[in-house]
């Protein structure tokens, strides 16, 4: 695949994810809802699976995670923005690991119970793995010390927190795969202005939210 085309796609998917984290994730957090679990189980999973299904490129989801993580840093007012940014990048990397050898062209992923199982596993690993990575890396990045006992005592709650994303993942992935046969192709003339335009709108909304907060 054309590298520029792939980069533009990474940019647009990453921008969408970043925007959803900043606006929707923050709103859920303000409402006292489990924002991390909902964001991992619905938004992150949808964006990562959809991008893999359309472009079939390994490595792309890590790039999407980097873009979204960088954009999350623009909302320092809600939640721990550094923790969230690290978790988002980790989720992109974890998706790559889980789906490294898997393809949507595989026959067994045609079956709904397999799609539901993969959705459960993927969403759970994204949430729990992202949470663990951020517990370890945030103190280190912030110049403090990571204490393993602080992670160990909190592990039961992290594992328990994975229940909601696991259930939503089992529902969301089969729904996303319904769009597998949709043919959405854009000509180069339209592709670049569209992807860059959408990305720009996402960034402006994030910037606007940052300035108005």
């Amino acid at each position: 695949m054309n590298r520029m085309k792939l980069f533009a796609a990474i940019l647009v998917f990453g921008s969408f994810w970043g925007l959803s984290e900043v606006l929707i994730g923050s709103s859920l957090h303000n409402m006292g809802l489990p924002s991390g679990a909902i964001m991992s189980g619905i938004f992150a999973l949808t964006i990562l699976v959809l991008s893999r299904m359309i472009f079939r490129q390994t490595g792309m989801q890590l790039g999407i995670g980097f873009i979204a993580g960088a954009l999350r840093m623009f909302n320092p007012f809600i939640g721990c923005h550094l923790c969230s940014a690290i978790a988002i990048v980790a989720e992109g990397a974890l998706f790559e690991l889980i789906w490294y050898k898997l393809s949507f062209d595989s026959e067994y992923l045609e079956k709904p119970y397999m799609q539901a199982s993969m959705g459960t596993i993927t969403a759970y690993v994204l949430f729990v793995g992202g949470h663990i990575v951020t517990q370890i890396l945030t103190p280190i990045v912030a110049g403090a010390t990571f204490y393993v006992q602080n992670l160990i005592v909190f592990m039961p709650r992290i594992i328990a927190g994975g229940l909601l994303p696991a259930i939503t993942g089992g529902v969301v992935l089969p729904i996303i795969t319904l769009s597998k046969n949709l043919d959405i192709t854009l000509k180069d003339k339209v592709y670049y202005p569209t992807t860059l335009g959408i990305s720009l709108i996402c960034w402006l909304l994030i910037l606007g939210n940052f300035l108005l907060a």
Partner: protein, 133 residues
């Protein structure tokens, strides 16, 4: 065993593990209204009567509460700068900080600690214990 069997089994294990963990979390929930500090129990009002208040600037704006520096000194910790402090929450979340970080922080009326220069990850809420290590 092929992927067709392994993947659903793994998904079921994940759900079961999360359910058991949820039960464990609720069963071990800490239910108390006091804060343990250096071996003594204090209510939030006693803490506010014990130490002086201060206001700090954070990324979320100004926050007012009891100065953790004064609180530790008045609670009788022998050598504050030689110790580290694990701040524990009701939900078992905890963070350990050194004296340089702790002395910049406050504990507010809701039982949440704030630090001016650390990520919010260190702002432990619903504090039930400050352990001196």
């Amino acid at each position: 065993m092929g992927k067709e069997k392994l993947i659903p089994i793994f998904a079921i294990i994940i759900i079961a593990l999360s359910v058991f963990s949820t039960i464990y979390v609720y069963a071990t929930h800490i239910d108390k209204d006091t804060i343990s500090l250096n071996g003594n129990e204090y209510t939030i009002d006693e803490i506010f009567a014990l130490a002086e208040e201060k206001t700090i600037s954070t990324v979320e704006g100004e926050k007012t509460g009891v100065a953790l520096e004064d609180l530790i000194l008045k609670s009788g910790v022998g050598c504050p700068s030689c110790s580290e402090y694990t701040i524990k929450a009701r939900d078992s979340y905890q963070q350990t900080v050194n004296w340089d970080i702790l002395k910049t922080g406050i504990l507010d009326k809701t039982g949440r600690v704030f630090f001016p220069d650390t990520p919010k990850k260190f702002w432990v809420g619903d504090v039930v214990e400050i352990e001196v290590i």
